[in-house]
Symmetry: C2
Subunit: 523 residues, 2 copies
């Protein structure tokens, strides 16, 4: 049951008078639920309750937190069809996608549960003391990671489950021992409330302090801004636009006590097609990339928005094939009229740029809120001169840059802003002759992909989802995979501390049996 | 030989016309050397050369970088007495301290050499692919840490060797694969130039690209500001005042591409004396703390500027003993007249605060630039009301806060700003009764110390030197020990990348034999 209310420390709350509805882009009409925006006092209460909860929640054992995270996963699954229906009504996405994303979401929760139950993630590092050392005794030092405090998570428009209410940011923060306050995404507030209700049930069933979770509704920027400004909030997770992420980063940097903002923002994910790959496999790659560009109506942060190659007849043939393939794909609905309008505007603006050629533009009429996919082409020289061409068009759009030589190709890559991914399409040995191209690409991205597509982000330890600015605000940390827990923690050392008062992770006898670095050796 | 010139990409350069001298605080007169400030074009050249050098230096193997770091250590030792003499003339510190600090400096360089030669520090993480996985193949993903680019290091006034030209920031950045541009500290520009000359020799002898190191002179803020603003600089290390560190942080946060600033700034390092420890061991602790407060003329970032206890007769007796002990210590020279004047001003300001009692103030005449140590006392209530009392007085100064009960003691700790360290003085079991006090203390610090003094920072893996703001700007990273290398790196993932083109650290056959996490297991 979607009530439209906020959830403050696991209790429903609706003191405000500003209301809004979510929108069904397929039916092109408002959904039935009405949501009540959080008020300033509700924001304060959520933070105060989180601060109180932190005292006890941060001291729960990894096993206890693991039970909690698994219970959240169970409760999300128990929401059944109601969740899937709300998801579809608020996004225009298909049921299959909704179910996949739910699977990914509960999978992430269980992955973090496993991580904290096992316990070695705290990076316990021990230097045994040497009381007899000359000229001075060497103290005993033991260090591990501790949670930092209340975290604000902003729901993402394009992943209502996997990067929102109980998505990767929330799961990793809760796993680390931090309470979470979600700023619900206004486009899928109903989906968010259902997931929030699952977390509430899990809190109750596993005896966690209620302040460990809140879910606040809002349509504008004020609620999010107030949360990031709040002196007791200690960290922020965000997935969205460069403008939005940078605004939050700037607010956090101006605080008396600056706090980290992990904003995963814009990326056009350059793909380099090497000449022999185009000569030998143009047909296969045209088909593959038509699929990647339009996957999820192009609404992925890893969408391939930029394709780079050396000008050649093979490239022209590839473009013709890609054009045909992409126009054969049935247009799909976008998440929301606002996103659809931005797509149309930005695509239109791009197509008016000097020297740009439209090589494919779905020109048949489409249903309201459906996107008309397009592919364009410019020369390397034009791309280097016009920074507008470097900007992201969020949706099923891509641009091919035809470079006159390898030098220009390398230069184009070097002038790109930071990106989440960079891909090289090659026949097996060809890439060896392009070392400078690869070096340039590596300097601009967080993940390099060989002979694949950037869409699809495997949730695993070796994943880096994040890249040089503006792909993300802090590219030392990944937003996906177990290492994303490191965003919400800081190390604390204990010097000559009594063994019985140390956290279990650092006690001499290692009661948890975790992996630790002792005097330089992993034990 | 100290020339007074800048070093740009290992070449002497002196295009500017602004000059300055360093000062001998013991003799109270200028030193003989004249230094030429770096110009804007010299700054640009240093950064450009660093960018060029990064291309090759970042690809040097760990073994090659290890040889380079060890050679720097050798060259610093080869400077012999000239270095020690310059150090003493520019700081007023004793020869013994100079030699100790030199030992720490070369020790750090050799520690990082060992780390990168061994190679496991890159945190290689591998998820083998599962091409047969259903419904989709699992890609092969391999992740490790890579250096981020040119780093600016600001020399620290209080550690001319260990935290300056070839100190911990420089050593860790060079170890990671980043070129370094040092903004030389104006108080010890001669010491800095000598160390810089050692690095230049090491660059030449080990065949490193010259742009890997520059050393720029300056007295004002302009050179440092321009360096941090420079779009091609990728990170900053700083040790100094809150005002200075915050100014650099703000500049970096406002850039089009924000960069990390690791500023290690102010800390008053609270020490909690528990009642039984005071009752049973007041004499020993008074002697120990008189020594810690005055060590290095109180010019350590870990100086115990704040002592907390419950009001009692034992506390009064402890104060009397501490007062006697501290007045028995011969006053010592400060680093510079500017630092001495700030000490006198800040001490004077503190002593005028309402309700504060001066319990010890060295009132006999002292030599010019010598500090008169002092200890003061306030009640918990007064401390809670007056935030001026929370500020650092850099020098041999400390304040005792007498709290009326445990609740007030906990409150006092909770209201403190972030600190590098927090110490508890206790008889062995007593601390168990003060769980809330310890929890509050842990929330404010990076390192907890039991029955010791905060001065003395062991260089080891388990050390955390850094703490919640304003102790440091980014308390997820330590400034001391091997983990400080993590400040200058970012992870990059390789997806389905050809094995022969992977960095050696990630190749299937593990040619370097490093420790790696493979499919969740450390191998």
């Amino acid at each position: 049951m979607i009530s439209g209310k906020n959830i403050i420390a696991c209790e429903q709350s609706a003191n405000g008078s500003n209301t809004y509805r979510t929108f069904d882009p397929l039916l092109n009409m408002d959904n039935e639920w009405q949501f009540i925006e959080a008020t300033d006092s509700e924001i304060d209460l959520a933070v105060e309750k989180a601060v109180q909860a932190f005292e006890t929640y941060s001291k729960k054992s990894g096993s206890e937190r693991g039970v909690f995270l698994n219970q959240i996963a169970d409760e999300i699954e128990a929401l059944g069809d109601e969740l899937i229906a709300a998801y579809c009504k608020e996004t225009g996405l298909a049921e299959g996608r909704a179910k996949n994303e739910r699977g990914r979401t509960v999978g992430q929760l269980r992955m973090f549960a496993k991580l904290v139950v096992e316990g070695s993630w705290v990076q316990a590092t021990i230097d045994n003391g040497q009381p007899e050392r000359q000229p001075m005794a060497k103290p005993d030092l033991r260090k591990m990671l501790f949670p930092i405090g209340p975290i604000v998570v902003f729901g993402a428009s394009n992943f209502p489950l996997a990067y929102s209410t109980a998505g990767g940011d929330t799961a990793s923060a809760l796993a680390s021992g931090c309470p979470v306050i979600v700023k619900s995404h206004p486009m899928h507030a109903g989906t968010g409330e259902l997931v929030a209700s699952a977390i509430v049930k899990a809190v109750s069933k596993t005896g966690m302090p209620k302040g460990v979770f809140s879910n606040l509704n809002s349509t504008g920027h004020e609620v999010g801004q107030k949360l990031v400004e709040h002196p007791k909030v200690k960290g922020v997770g965000f997935t969205g636009s460069i403008k939005g992420g940078r605004a939050l980063y700037d607010i956090a940097a101006k605080r008396d006590e600056p706090i980290p903002v992990f904003a995963e923002m814009g990326s056009i994910n350059p793909v380099v097609f090497l000449p022999r790959a185009l000569a030998e496999k143009k047909k296969e790659w045209a088909k593959t990339y038509a699929g990647s560009i339009t996957l999820g109506t192009g609404q992925f942060c890893t969408n391939p928005g930029l394709m780079l190659a050396l000008a050649s007849d093979d490239l022209d043939e590839f473009i013709a094939l890609l054009s045909k393939e992409i126009l054969d794909i049935a247009p799909m609905c976008m998440l929301n009229p606002g996103i659809k309008n931005n797509y149309a505007t930005n695509k239109g603006k791009m197509m008016q740029q000097q020297g740009l050629t439209v090589v494919a533009d779905y020109s048949q009429e489409v249903k309201t809120n459906f996107a008309q996919q397009a592919v364009t082409k410019v020369s390397g020289a034009e791309f280097l001169e016009n920074s507008t061409l470097h900007q992201e068009v969020f949706g099923p759009f891509s641009m091919i840059v035809a470079c006159k030589d390898v030098h220009e190709l390398t230069l184009v890559i070097s002038t790109l802003e930071g990106q989440l991914t960079g891909t090289v399409v090659s026949v097996q040995n060809e890439i060896k002759d392009y070392e400078k191209v690869v070096t340039a690409l590596q300097s601009r991205v967080g993940r390099l992909i060989f002979n694949g597509v950037p869409t699809g982000v495997q949730v695993c330890a070796a994943m880096m989802h994040g890249g040089p600015y503006p792909a993300s605000t802090d590219n030392r940390f990944t937003a996906v995979g177990i290492h994303s827990i490191n965003r919400w923690v800081r190390p604390v050392s204990f010097q000559d501390w009594p063994n019985e008062l140390l956290p279990n992770e650092l006690k001499k006898e290692n009661p948890l049996g975790i992996k630790r670095n002792v005097d330089g050796n992993w034990m």
